[in-house]
Amino acid sequence: MTYTAWIILTAALVGLSCGVIGVFLILRKTAMMADAISHTVLLGIVIAYIITREVSGTAMLIGGILAGVFTAFLVQWLHSLRVQHDAAMGIVFTTLFAIGVILIATSVGNAHLDVQHALMGEITFIPFHMITLPIIGAIPEATALLLLVLAVILFFIIAFYKEWKITSFDPALAASLGIPVILMHYLFMGLVSVTTVASFDAVGAIMVVAMLITPAASAYLWTDKLSFMLVLSGSFGVVSAVAGYYIAAWIDTSISGSMAFATGLVFMISFIFSPKHGLISRRVRPAETM
């Protein structure tokens, strides 16, 4: 495959994974947890690096997942102590992120791990780190990781589809039916962390938030069916990612920034034109329901 094809494939994988997982972020009303987790994942990656002293995909993945779940745990804990939920998030993620930045400045000092890279991602470098896998052959490491993560996400979403649905819609009922709501919550936060870590190289810590939230929010304006919302959100993710790449190539600027920008365009179109919940349809038939 060509250099450009690898980049587009990687971008599309980011869009697809984030789009699918993002649907439940929206429905569980935890969109800002994406922001919190994407920042604290940095700390996990830094600590993994300090321990192993190498930039390896596996160590980073494990560090990132642990950091993400730890964040979710801390936020939940503070909230259980009656700290406002969003304040708890704000305290936890800024503090852990700050510790991450300090660690990088004081004890890492390695070119592979600068903050800028982690924040912005650098998708153009991805095809330079090729690994060889059986059957598939040579493939960029980040792309392979994304494929794996996508498979994991799809597995969990499909296998526990009805459990995700009920724990998102009515956790109290789910608990009374014997479904482990808390465990599902942390499993979900784990999945968000995995997706974030895998997308890091490509889009960085902050733009991944756009990829996670915006396609799902756009899809939410088009449909009232959960399964269709998942498909739609995944497609929006892919479309934004690919469109973002071409916008960036066209005006010669940051690819990850353009991808985030493109998700904004998709949302804008949905917000205005969606037949169900768009601005225009609201104008045409205002408040038909109740």
Binding site: F160, K165, S168, L173, S176, K225, L226
Partner: protein
């Protein structure tokens, strides 16, 4: 008849510094239909939640069928207040009712045609069959409440707890819900309902639990739903309207 299937002993619960419930003791017999009545802030919802382990208790014990809650879970159905979920969730009425069966369906399996049929039957029973495929945000308040009740029916529990199912619903829904509650009672199920409208208590429930932070009185409606007991429950903040049965109570919030 007199086998208690719910025994609550010395239960207390608090929100932060305030003890909301204290010294709660009562027993409920199988096949009864009980209204939980009391002023605002009396702890009615908290009582349900504490009994069902959704709110931590400070002291005391709760036994269902002689067992702790965890072991009796499957035989208990809970209908939360309508406002406790987001009705903008992308799903339809039939799907919400099917959720009541998720516990029985088990992990890694999808709802079968049979499950869907049972859910449809429950909807039909609540007069909601025509709305099975309607998105839930497009249902009226009363219709949403009926969907919730259908979901409880499909659980096929032995013991139901309902938190204000009649609050803010239309007259038709109120009638439909009460018919179902009486049917449940007729086939030997036990139901406890948080209720806010004193005028209908005598028509709807055979047992009443008068609550104001603790149990003021509990027993058969005709015996304990007296002017004096109600006055005790609501304190001085009430006045009677009309004679005998026709009364309304105004409590200061």
């Amino acid at each position: 008849m007199a086998t208690p299937i719910l025994q609550v002993e010395n239960l207390s619960a608090s929100y932060r510094k305030n003890t909301v419930l204290h010294d709660i003791n009562f027993e409920v017999n199988a096949g009864s239909l009980t209204g939980i009545v009391g002023p605002n802030g009396a702890g009615k919802s908290t009582l349900l939640k504490t009994i069902l382990n959704l709110h931590p208790s400070l002291t005391g014990s709760v036994k269902f069928f002689g067992l702790p809650f965890i072991k009796a879970k499957k035989r208990i159905g809970y209908v939360p207040q309508r406002g406790s979920v987001d009705w903008d969730f992308p799903t339809d009425a039939l799907d919400v009712v099917t959720m009541g069966l998720y516990g029985q369906i088990g992990w890694l399996r999808r709802p079968s045609r049979l499950h869907k049929e049972r859910a449809y039957e429950a909807l039909d029973k609540m007069g909601m069959a025509d709305y099975a495929n309607r998105q839930i945000s497009q249902l009226s308040g009363g219709q949403q409440q009926r969907v919730f009740l259908a979901r409880a029916l499909v659980q096929d529990a032995d013991f139901y707890f309902m938190d204000e199912p009649l609050a803010g619903v239309d007259a038709a829904t109120e009638r439909a819900i009460m018919t179902i509650l009486k049917e449940l009672k007729a086939i030997g199920k036990t139901v406890m309902v948080v209720h806010h409208d004193l005028q209908t208590v005598e028509d709807y429930f055979d047992h009443v639990l008068l609550l104001n932070r603790t149990v003021i009185k509990h027993g058969r409606t005709e015996q304990i739903f007296t002017r004096e007991n109600i006055a005790n429950t609501y304190g001085g903040n009430m006045r009677w309207m009309g004679e005998e049965k026709r009364h309304a109570v105004h409590s200061i919030e």
